[in-house]
Amino acid sequence: MRKENFMEKQKKLIRLSNLLLDSLYELKKAKLRQIQNVMEDFGIRCSDTTKDSHLFYAAIERNWLHSAEQVISRVNRNLNDFSYHLQRFKELVNSDETVLPKLADIYAELIQIEQEFGEIKFDSNEKAISVTTEPITLNDIPLGPFEVKLSIGQISKLYSDAPFRIIALRPNPAGSNDEVTHPHEHFERLCEGDGHVSIRSAIEQGRFCDFFTMAVNILQTYNPDSPYISLDDWEGISCYDCGCTISSDDCYYCEYCDRDYCSSCSSYCQMCDTAMCLGCAYGCPSCNEPVCRNCTAKCKDCEETFCKDCLDEEGLCQNCQEQRKENENEEQEQLSEEPKADAPV
């Protein structure tokens, strides 16, 4: 029974090794296609230069000096592009030729991964292999264990995208952003930093154990100079307006929009002292003080909104009060003038 289980396990590892070898083959083809594209581009530019040279020769032979000068200025304009494409072509052609590993090497890599990390998990739906780390604690903040998942089908896109993801198994995300479960991880993408080149080199050469080792070592190391979210701000809350991270003691809750804000992005009602964000605060046009919407009312005449303090007992703002007084005074004057007009001749 044990022997059967062992044989079954070996068969799985060999099948997995074959899948990985196929993906490395596709990766090599992708690199060669890249060289082919650049070579074709370079060839087109060479043929353009050849055409220009024929035109130039014909122009000089026929004494068309103005046309010859036009050809020269076109060639001159294209020279800068030409040197860039030439340099790019040289770099690609001279880049190290990675030798594909043998099946036995990849099998040995998988055995080593099992020895270093325990079990290798194979997700047959996603065609991905993964290892699980021990629970990670950085600066006394527990972040939980992580799963480093390498997608076999995505290895061929190594030069344009990262073929692996970091999944938090017992996430303790940053207070200001649920998507950040590690200072150097965002949306399950690892920010490789110093390990970027060597990780890609390891995958390219089929050194999968080295890849997993480096990914785990990055997760276990905190770089305070360049985290996505600093561990000092890990337990904080993000201001909904400006996005800065604040501690839970320094944040202000706006009950009108149900969000948290920092002191710079919040205010309080001058009438009822309710905390609110600057967006929900209303500036009274009369006294210019911030008030909440519960402490405002409309003027009965002009229907503009004021704080309740700036409206009189009749619900009129100062301007409308003055307007009313003026109107009353005018009416009184008119009334006092009318009897003189009716006096007998």
């Binding site: 080593q112 930093g193 060597s198 080295d210 080792t213 480096m214 070592n217």
Partner: protein, 109 residues
């Protein structure tokens, strides 16, 4: 006469030095061996290197990873952990991976 003697002594010394150099080169060719060295720090390096016979893994680390501490690296020979005094053999595969690799903040262009 004295000049001729001095000249012959100089020629003889020259021969001795030359022979010594030849012997040294012969000895050198005889006592080096080739191993595969994979260095996962920085930009990475994976190639064959020549080392002297009877070089221990400790000595190899001191030569190739100058300024670095062994405690800061994961060292494997032929995919296995080995003691410090392990003597490297012809064809061995040595991998050195730093345990502290600093990540960064993802910058989206």
């Amino acid at each position: 006469m004295r000049v001729v003697r001095l000249s012959s002594i100089a020629d003889r010394m020259y021969e001795i030095v030359l022979n010594k150099e030849s012997i040294n080169k012969f000895n050198e060719r005889k006592i080096t061996m080739r191993i595969l060295f994979i260095n996962n720090s920085g930009a990475g390096y994976a190639d064959y290197v020549n080392i002297a016979e009877n070089t221990t893994i400790d000595q190899f680390f001191a030569i190739k990873m100058q300024g670095q501490q062994e405690n800061d690296c994961l060292i494997r020979v032929n995919r296995q952990p080995v003691p410090k005094d392990y003597v490297l053999q012809e064809g061995d595969r040595v991998t050195i991976t730093p345990t502290k690799i600093e990540g960064a903040r993802l910058v989206i262009a």
